[in-house]
């Protein structure tokens, strides 16, 4: 995880008590998370603290991969959890898995943060970024998890061209814009846009065909 010269310089206040580490097995337990979210919708603060303990590491990982600055990722995670608490009653309408819903909030916050006017990841950051990114897209041994959805996505990603697969993976995991992708992959902007558009179309066709 790179942070670079521009990483957080703000001095951290002395740490106090914080919630105990979650048990790793519980992190992936969508049912437990869904139950906690239902209790949060009833304004149960205790459930909210447990929800944070179970999900914050995963969501912070998402934020830090996109933002690549710890201070920004902390701000985004904080805003996201305030948002989650305030909008948790709306969750049931989405019919998504609870982690998917929370991850979408964090991703959107992080992307909004990156695209603020007057805020650019500077060239130094960009160089660090390029070093930190994998040169290859995921290979045929891509493992995304053991669920049926994960197997379907992995299989359908394999059916894309390497360029399509790589641009989609980079864009999703690191929040790269079309322009950043073009720069990183040393390709014209229009080419990158086409890879993404066609790749997403093929992905949908493949995944809908399997379900």
């Amino acid at each position: 995880m790179c942070c670079g010269a521009k990483a957080a310089t703000r001095s951290a206040p002395a740490e106090r008590w914080h919630p105990p580490e979650p048990h790793p097995l519980l992190v992936a337990d969508n049912d437990a998370i869904a139950e906690l979210m239902a209790r949060c919708a009833l304004r149960d603060q205790h459930a909210f603290a447990r929800l944070y303990r179970l999900t914050s590491a995963k969501l912070y990982g998402v934020a830090i991969r996109i933002l690549r600055r710890e201070d920004w990722a902390e701000e985004v995670l904080q805003e996201s959890f305030v948002n989650i608490w305030n909008h948790i009653a709306e969750y049931s309408a989405t019919r998504s898995a609870p982690m998917t819903w929370m991850t979408a909030i964090v991703r959107n916050r992080a992307l909004d943060w990156l695209r603020r006017p007057n805020l650019e990841r500077g060239n130094e950051d960009y160089d660090l970024l390029v070093e930190s990114l994998p040169d290859q897209g995921p290979g045929p041994d891509l493992v995304l998890g053991h669920s049926r959805d994960a197997a379907a996505l992995a299989e359908c990603l394999r059916q894309l061209s390497g360029d399509q697969r790589q641009t989609i993976m980079l864009a999703y995991a690191h929040g790269l814009s079309h322009g950043e992708l073009a720069q990183h992959l040393k390709q014209p902007l229009g080419t990158v846009k086409t890879w993404i558009r066609r790749g997403l179309e093929r992905l949908k066709g493949c995944m809908d065909g399997r379900s």
Partner: protein, 234 residues
Amino acid sequence: MKYRNQQLREALASEYALGTLQGRARRRFERSLKDDPQLRALVNRWQDRLAPLDAVGQPVHPPARVWRRVQEQLQTGRRRRGLWSNLPFWRTVGLASVAGALALAVSLATLSPARHGAETMVVVMSDAEANPAMTVSWPMQPRGQPRLRVRVMGHPEMASGTAWELWLLPGGEHKPVSLGLIGTEPMQELTVPRSLVPMMDGAYGLAMSVEPAGGSPTGQPTGPVLYKGQCIPL
């Protein structure tokens, strides 16, 4: 703006979920999402499709200050009233605990060595599932320093490095007032300053929060509330 073309709607939803829809196009799309449930459904579907990619990255534990700031923002945030004066917060004390509260309150009141004519305040505090977990009672208008009788039910465990702090909730917009730290023993007594008497006899309820060892460093609850309940004069 309405996106009518189905192919365009699908393409925008997919690039929104992927993160590559940006700038003005992204903001315009988000405005459309607000009153277009079908477009929201397209986005949700794409988020579901791409969600397994989240498994690729490693979890990273955030610093403890993030959780503290989340709580501070929720308690002091300008856009919403504090949780402590938030009515829905109290609705979690469900019907189950009301029945339990009455039964317990009656038995406690008959057990209390209250002076003739004096009332006893009883608080049945419930956990998140609205199960009674603790009772606190005290004589109203006491002559000396008020002594709180604390009875902890079951055999709860306190995490090491933490403390349980009891809070008086005066009601309205008033902030919680600390009554001190309690333990997990079944029967306890807590002596509180006489200056708190007027506030205690008119209090709305009590809450018990998990705090760092030694108690809240801010004078206000900072950790999760385990138990809470309303005051009932008997």
